[in-house]
Symmetry: C2
Subunit: 360 residues, 2 copies
């Protein structure tokens, strides 16, 4: 078996160690005689799995006791509706638009109330993060919404926006657990797990307790009301048990790696290898402002579509997979999540050097 | 490794062959160098997986071309909202209440329109299926709703209700693929996969095309609108890829077993072993009317709570797991889904005989 280096933006690479454990336990989880897929979600065995996963996530992120952790379904896209449905008391919200996912979230919220776009980087194809030090926050805003790391465009907030006291809601799908964040700066942090944590089909919401109430918009489906799942410890109905089990293994793996400070250091090293090369290359160039660069998603272009396509094809032949950029940016994108080893980035940079030699 | 016989009502036993294949392919799916968990949902490899799964399900169930097959998230509980949101044009629906899940679906629908309970077996703790040959169908009903097999109570419809021309919607979570059904009798068939098909976190909806429209209730979340997912072939956002992959393997396994006619025969044989024993036993008795017995879920009691508990504990020690009944019925319940081998039912019946000898 030859594993490739998989630079997919998501679903994405998982730690090999986690996959090996999952394979070993597939027919018999720790001597219980069945797979985790076959276990009742009401069993003690599964209770241990989900409770350990939550405890490990709390430890990794240093989540305060007055925040709930919910394991849900439907992806971030479903939270695009759940967020206004649960939070819009005044039916007003402020959105900062830094890419396609923030825009989609905003469009969905517009169906439920008045939405103000208080900052945007759409003018320059989302190649930067707007200055958020003095935003025109709406007086009656129920919350301010951001997408923390922009998977498609390769930008990331490096400073918490000044919301002037309003609740901050952040989609952290593509940067979660890549470095520490101060949970208390946020009312809601949520993320689809399929980029940096586990298999698609689980979305985790970290929500300050006072924001979880029965006072939701009329017509909110019971399953989209956060309180439904908070009151039932994410077991209102059958949760995506196997996905939660894999997430739990990734949390354990992260603890073994040294936690989020260690991951941040490792991710900065990996990203630096690639950005340093891009900054001196005559063939390739990064597409976003240096100050706003993502540690996870690195888009780059040659400026020549045919050459971009040649690069992607030749890289694939070398076992460097899924380097094609998103259609709205073009060129290439290397997603270098937690589970991408440094050796993968080194191999990519070496290949880029060779390609540049051959094609300049 | 010793696999147990797992009589869990769901999540439930899966075919050992499927689990073995999944374990073998965990780190490297068919030479592509990555796990199915790590694959982009936009990749050709995943397209092949989901398209093959759909084609196999269509073949197994003989699904007509004018029905869409959607792979969704959120479980049946989320469809409890999606169904009225997508179908209530007149804001009227008729529900038949044959157990807790039909009741929950009904309660959720009541939040969106006028709901008439046109038949119920609540008077006798859901131990039978009401006569549905001449129901008081509402003239302006948008649909008639049934739960086809009642997991908790162990009953099953053996005849399609006469809806007098109205659309029939059926939750088939706990009987799907256990025997043939005539899809054309239904407007919507849907099922959470975690009982008879795959790991929790996937719900499959089979919907007649003319019922998939933009004309949904105001405020319907984009993700709950069937048309969103129908237009995107279930790839509007990242689907629960790994769960779909396992479902696909189970569909292949069912085809190898000879399809649904063969499964029906096998399931009838398995159920007969258990029901025949119950019918002559002096200690154990089945809890539902014979004519309405489920092939999948078999509740039974001794009439003595302490003896029931002793039975469950001693059965567990023999590798017969998860036989405790639902709290609302008490006693025991053996769920004998497709993947439960006949040998498992034989071992259970042998153990029941022995237990009866020792405790009568």
């Amino acid at each position: 078996m030859a594993r490739v280096y998989n630079f997919s933006a998501g679903p994405a690479v998982l730690p090999e160690e986690v996959l090996k454990e999952a394979a070993d336990e597939m027919l018999d989880y720790r001597g219980c005689g069945m797979s985790v897929m076959e276990m009742s979600h009401r069993s003690q065995m599964f209770a241990d799995i989900i409770e350990t996963a939550e405890a490990d996530l709390r430890e990794l992120m240093n989540i305060p006791d007055n925040y709930k952790v919910l394991f849900l379904q439907g992806g971030a896209s479903q939270q695009f509706s759940a967020i206004p449905m649960n939070l819009m008391k005044n039916k007003v919200a402020d959105y900062i638009i830094t890419g396609q996912w923030a825009k989609k979230a905003c469009q969905e919220a517009q169906r439920y109330g008045k939405v103000n776009i208080i900052a945007s980087s759409e003018d320059k194809t989302y190649t930067y993060i707007p200055d958020c030090s003095d935003l025109p926050i709406s007086e009656d805003a129920d919350y301010v919404y951001v997408c923390w790391n922009n998977t498609i465009y390769g930008t990331k907030y490096n400073k918490v926006p000044n919301t002037k006291g309003k609740i901050l809601v952040a989609d952290m799908s593509s940067s979660i657990l890549s470095e520490p964040v101060n949970v208390e700066d946020f009312g809601v942090i949520y993320f689809g797990v399929q980029k940096n944590v586990g298999p698609a089909g689980v979305v985790i919401c970290i929500i300050r307790e006072d924001l979880i109430t029965d006072d939701v918009l009329p017509g909110t489906p019971t399953m989209l009301k956060w309180k439904t799942q908070a009151d039932a410890n994410s077991l209102y109905n059958t949760p995506p048990c196997y996905g939660i089990y894999i997430c739990g293994k990734v949390f354990q793996w992260l603890k073994k790696q040294g936690g989020l400070e260690a991951m941040k250091q490792r991710n900065e090293e990996k990203a630096k290898l690639l950005y340093d090369f891009l900054d001196q290359s005559e063939l390739f160039k990064g597409t976003v402002e240096k100050k706003d660069r993502s540690l996870m998603n690195v888009p780059f272009v040659t400026g020549d579509k045919d050459l971009d396509a040649k690069f992607v094809a030749e890289a694939k032949a070398e076992g460097l997979e899924n380097l094609k950029g998103h259609r709205t940016v073009g060129g290439m994108r290397a997603s270098i999540y937690n589970a991408m080893p440094k050796a993968g980035v080194e191999k990519l940079v070496a290949f880029m050097k060779k390609f540049e030699e051959e094609n300049k």
